[in-house]
Symmetry: C2
DNA sequence: TTCCATGCAAACACTTTGCACCGTG
DNA sequence: CACGGTGCAAAGTGTTTGCATGGAA
């Protein structure tokens, strides 16, 4: 999924192009990993005219279209990130909340094992692995 | 962590033994994987006198003591399970919501890789891997 | 008798929904 | 100019907190 064709992605799937959708997609891009609330805040630095419910509805649409994904990086609100670049999953340090993005190949042994033993297909992009990072291991 | 010494675990850590705590711990045992709400419902089949806030506060205490653990098996409320038996992690089918418990050895290749490459120590018991199960792959 | 634990109710954080209006296609 | 998208406000879900009371130690 590349940057330039998001307009077409919306159009071909019967969705309308609205300024709100563009603002929200750009906000997700800019922020990296952001909760709906943070997305709203970012959008509002460019334009006041976006409502919370629009943010939720739009993030849902964008995820359905494969333009963004969400993961649960805390016990609270989910965070959304762009799927411009390649798929990745996340490590989150329980202690310092640091988020590390990891390439899918690192988890390949697990996914093939789960496929073989359980016929289970892992959704790598949604995966969050909690634990303790180097600095916090002490 | 075995069943019989939970009383001592509480006592030695300075916590009091209350009927509510026993009821809640038993409910978690009985249910397997349960949200705070479900725990409350189970408790109330035995005794009316437990409040929601007590359930939340008690689950927090029990987790701190290592008697229960929680994982996020849905995008909504977390689920708590007993840590009687050995540690495990969960596979959750996005489609049919089926939960599969998996032995830690299956994920060992990943944990050692993350340890080696990122000095990251995985909290296996908290891990939830979302994806698609055999029946829903078709 | 001392505090920790509980109940209760209110507040809080996050998300969803119904409906009237707006604006893209 | 039709219908999908948005704003708004209200309601829904899940969780936390302050404070007075209760009971374990």
């Amino acid at each position: 999924m590349t940057h330039q064709d998001w307009r077409e992605t919306l159009r071909t799937r019967g969705y309308r192009l609205t300024p709100q959708r563009e603002l929200i997609l750009n906000a997700v891009d800019t922020l990296g990993h952001a909760t709906p609330d943070e997305v709203l805040a970012e959008v509002r630095t460019h334009s006041d005219a976006v409502n919370v419910s629009t943010v939720y509805r739009t993030l849902e649409v964008l995820e359905e279209l494969g333009l963004v994904r969400h993961a649960h990086l805390s016990d609270r609100a989910p965070t959304y990130h762009s799927v411009r670049d390649h798929e990745h999953f996340h490590l989150v340090c329980r202690n310092c909340r640091t988020v590390i993005s990891v390439e899918p190949d690192v988890i390949e042994p697990l996914t093939s094992r789960l496929d073989a033993d359980y016929s289970f297909t892992v959704d790598v992009g949604h995966l969050t692995v909690f634990g303790t990072c180097q600095e916090c291991t002490g």
